[in-house]
């Protein structure tokens, strides 16, 4: 389960950025096309944060929808998974949104 490694990276990034402060909230973007399951990250988060400056932090996950551009006709196509289909029949879609896997906001509290 790569969500464990991903969640560890989230906690590390947050703690590093906190620079001695406590992390009390983490906002994470996990795009619909990122290949990462938000529920699995939620499941791992408390465990990964235990014993770190992010212990007990609230985790908020935003899930940007996927969007692709059809390489055959140029149309913008909404994607709810990695296997998209353009109304023109094209399946060769360039991903333009939904691949996000980013920390966008932290709440830090002085100790």
């Amino acid at each position: 389960m790569h969500e464990l490694g991903v969640t560890q990276a989230v906690v590390e990034l947050a703690v590093e950025r906190a620079n001695g402060r406590r992390v009390t909230r983490v906002v994470l973007e996990i795009g619909k096309l990122s290949g990462v399951l938000p529920d699995a990250v939620r499941f791992c988060f408390d465990l990964c944060a235990e014993g770190t400056a992010a212990e007990g932090a609230a985790l908020e996950i935003v899930e940007p929808p996927g969007r692709g551009r059809c390489r055959s006709c140029g149309a913008d196509v909404p994607l709810d998974g990695p296997l998209g289909l353009c109304p023109c029949g094209g399946t060769d879609l360039e991903w333009i949104a939904g691949g996000e896997l980013r920390v966008t906001e932290l709440e830090l509290t002085d100790v």
Binding site: G5, T24, S34, L83, R102, T104, L106, E107, T109
Partner: protein, 249 residues
Amino acid sequence: MCKSNGDGHPHHDHEHRHPNGHGEEERATRVRVDRAVLDKNDRLADYNRGWLGGRGVLALNLVSSPGAGKTTLLERTVRDLAAEFPVGVVEGDQETDADARRIRAAGCRAVQLNTGVGCHLDAAMVARGLEELDPAPGSVVFIENVGNLVCPALFDLGERAKVVVCSVPEGDDKPLKYPHMFRAGRVVLLNKTDLLPHVPFDPDRFLDGVRRVNPSLRVIPLSALRGDGLAEWYGWVREQAARRQPAGV
């Protein structure tokens, strides 16, 4: 996967005091960060790319589900190509050094990395593995990732390309079931074609799936056991090796 839009510079973060609603108004600070989660891995992967490039070493990352035949393929590849360029192997498994020993027996240097509970290699482990392997300038280094068709797709190791190995007995539906891995790959080796007469597997269905997921993915059918198709695989490796660069180029 998403590092393209991640240029996180922590010093540009915006900090401002903000009530957090938990009675800590004076002490809580909301910080906009905007950093890719795998930023650290991606930076280390870039470091590996530079390290490899500086030595003119080509690195290929072999990914597959467990037992698709990566080590068998590498044993043969080592025997057949070691006369053309120095070859080295970095082996990733959760436990044991069995695969590294198989590779050494086939005649090349091999370093074993054990990931323990981890289900994939990351760039930091590979940095250590490369250091230990210490490949000669101009080498081709194969990195055998942990058998897993999901997790390694996300982790850049600094390789030139991901080589997906998929085998006939796994079924022709794998590209559609594991689209992220097939999307991340540059080439897919369809292994164990010697079993085609014995198991239900529709090559056209497999190819349709590949095209659906990643139209630019090249498919090379082969049998690591019997040797069919290996010439095309070696040709592909030679093409990549021809593009490995001496320092600074």
